[in-house]
């Protein structure tokens, strides 16, 4: 039972396999060559900027949307 529970723990999800995580971290260390704080800031900014990017695209499309609403055609 303990072994089974440990398996679940080690495999919460496919990407969370401990060997795989270790390998990814090694590659990222090689790639960035930076300290943990720098990686946290870079990755954090990328993650948080994703929803902001979607909102910006939505706002930039405001003109086209109002033009489409005025015409009988639907959005494409």
């Amino acid at each position: 039972m303990a072994a089974f529970l440990s398996f679940i723990l080690a495999h919460q999800g496919d990407a969370a396999d401990p060997e795989l995580i270790h390998w990814i971290k090694e590659r990222l260390d090689q790639l960035f060559g930076l300290g943990p704080w720098a990686v946290v800031v870079v990755m954090g900014l990328i993650i948080v900027s994703t929803p902001l990017f979607v909102v910006v695209v939505y706002l930039l499309q405001a003109k086209r949307r109002s033009a489409a609403e005025a015409s009988p055609d639907q959005e494409g």
Binding site: H11, Q12, D17, V40, I47, V54
Partner: protein, 435 residues
């Protein structure tokens, strides 16, 4: 000038719904998958054994799986928007509150019950059901994008959690993860709307249906098995054909997620980092497999054929894994299996919506997903047991791998042409060619 204006159409709102669903999956699933990263620091601080902390994780897996149909029912009754906003709020706050952990019971309650149950509300089954309302012709494509980026989320959020932990403490890292989940709230609030009709749109951003065309888009299409209540689906064959093959999907993916790396190290004699590299390569191919399955299903039709092909391919991959006793065998296995890994959930979700309609889709998808999770649990237990008895992974892998061929037959025998909404009206000429 007029033609230029006409070509510059705005992005269909359904794609914003898709983007919001993708980020929700990315953040919520990624944060939950990061639990493993916190095991060592939390165990060291509180003096917990591996077994003790495993109880919280195991409870979480069980609660999440069993909650899916209930969350699906709430989705069908109250709507996806309210459910997902509430779910995200609870997952974000509860993740941050893991920073206050002082006892194993607190961890078991907060992670194993609160986070895991709430996460089922914004799970892939519900976001896929929501996307099914917004897309008809490009349904599988939208679901595939949603599913593929959840894989990517796990690959990004878990290493991010490791660095966050390295830079700070486990308490601050939990708060950081909670904040990331909460950052999905504004996006969800802005873009998650129930149906295109609420915004004066039609699925896929298509033009208003012409009432002059007989039997065409002017008449709302319903399939013969359109389910008003989830119980209705239980009296029909496709739900059992899909749930049965989905059960096999769970058995064949969970067992490899757990045992592939030990198998590669112990049975094939390669290093842990090489095994991890091959497994990572397979997970990377997931993304292309999911996207490819969605695109092919929408462009060429015949969703059940692609589903059957995915199970058949995975069956072949298992044969290669067991018969080619070399590192090359592992690479061939990863190349074939990688494409089928996330393709099956995409195609199953899309086919479920096409056959049973949208009214009880959340509950029906939740039930089929529960079969998937039960299959996964059973296979992990069985593989562990058989490994202890035989000292090898050959028998458990052969047993679960053999199930893939009946699963392929089960998927292939679904009468899609008879039951799918795609074949009730001429939604797409190309789609009709695939059955």
């Amino acid at each position: 000038m007029q033609s230029t204006e006409k070509t510059k159409k705005p992005i269909y709102h359904g794609w914003y719904v898709c983007a919001a669903a993708v980020f929700i999956g990315f953040a919520a699933v990624g944060a939950r998958n990061s639990f493993g990263v916190f095991v060592v620091p939390m165990s060291e601080e509180f003096g917990w054994s591996r077994f003790t902390i495993s109880v919280a994780a195991a409870l979480g897996v069980l609660v999440n799986g069993v909650s899916q149909p209930f969350m699906g029912r709430i989705f069908d009754h109250t709507g996806g928007r309210k459910l997902m906003l509430f779910s995200l709020l609870v997952v974000g706050c509860a993740t941050a509150m893991l920073a206050l952990t002082f006892h194993i019971l607190y961890l078991a309650f907060m992670f194993g019950i609160v986070v895991s149950m709430a996460q089922a509300g914004s799970a892939n089954t519900n976001t896929s059901a929501l996307l099914s309302r917004w897309f008809k012709r490009r349904r599988a494509t939208a679901i595939s994008i949603n599913s593929a980026t959840i894989s990517l989320g796990g690959m990004v959020m878990v290493p991010f959690s490791m660095y966050l932990l390295q830079a700070t403490t486990w308490r601050i890292a939990w708060i950081g993860l909670g904040m990331i989940v909460l950052s999905a709230l504004p996006l969800a609030y802005l873009f998650l709307h129930e149906r295109p009709e609420q915004r004066g749109l039609y699925p896929d951003g298509d033009p208003a249906p012409s009432k002059d065309i007989p039997n065409g888009r002017g008449r709302p299409a319903t399939g013969p098995l359109e389910a008003e209540r989830w119980q209705d689906s239980f009296r029909t064959a496709p739900i059992w054909q899909m749930a049965g093959s989905y059960f096999v999907c769970g058995t064949t993916t969970f067992v490899l997620s757990v045992h592939f790396i030990p198998f590669a190290i112990e049975d094939r004699g390669i290093s842990g980092s090489s095994a991890a590299f091959i497994f990572g390569y397979m997970m990377f191919l997931n993304i292309f497999g999911a996207l490819g399955a969605g695109l092919l299903s929408d462009k060429l039709g015949g969703t059940k054929n692609w589903l059957a092909l995915a199970y058949f391919m995975r069956g072949i991959a298992y044969i290669v894994l067991l018969t080619v006793d070399s590192v090359a065998g592992l690479w061939i296995f990863a190349s074939i299996a990688g494409f089928s890994w996330v393709a099956t959930p995409v195609l199953t979700s899309s086919l479920t919506a096409d056959v049973y309609g949208l009214k009880a889709l959340g509950t029906i998808s939740g039930i089929t997903f529960m079969f998937h999770q039960f299959g996964g649990f059973g296979s992990v237990l069985l593989a562990g047991l058989l490994f202890d008895i035989t000292g090898s992974y050959t028998l458990p892998f052969a047993l679960v791998g053999a199930l893939l061929f009946p699963a392929a037959i089960s998927a292939f025998s679904i009468k899609e042409r008879k039951y799918s909404i795609r074949y009730q009206t001429p939604i797409s000429t190309a789609a009709a060619a695939g059955d």
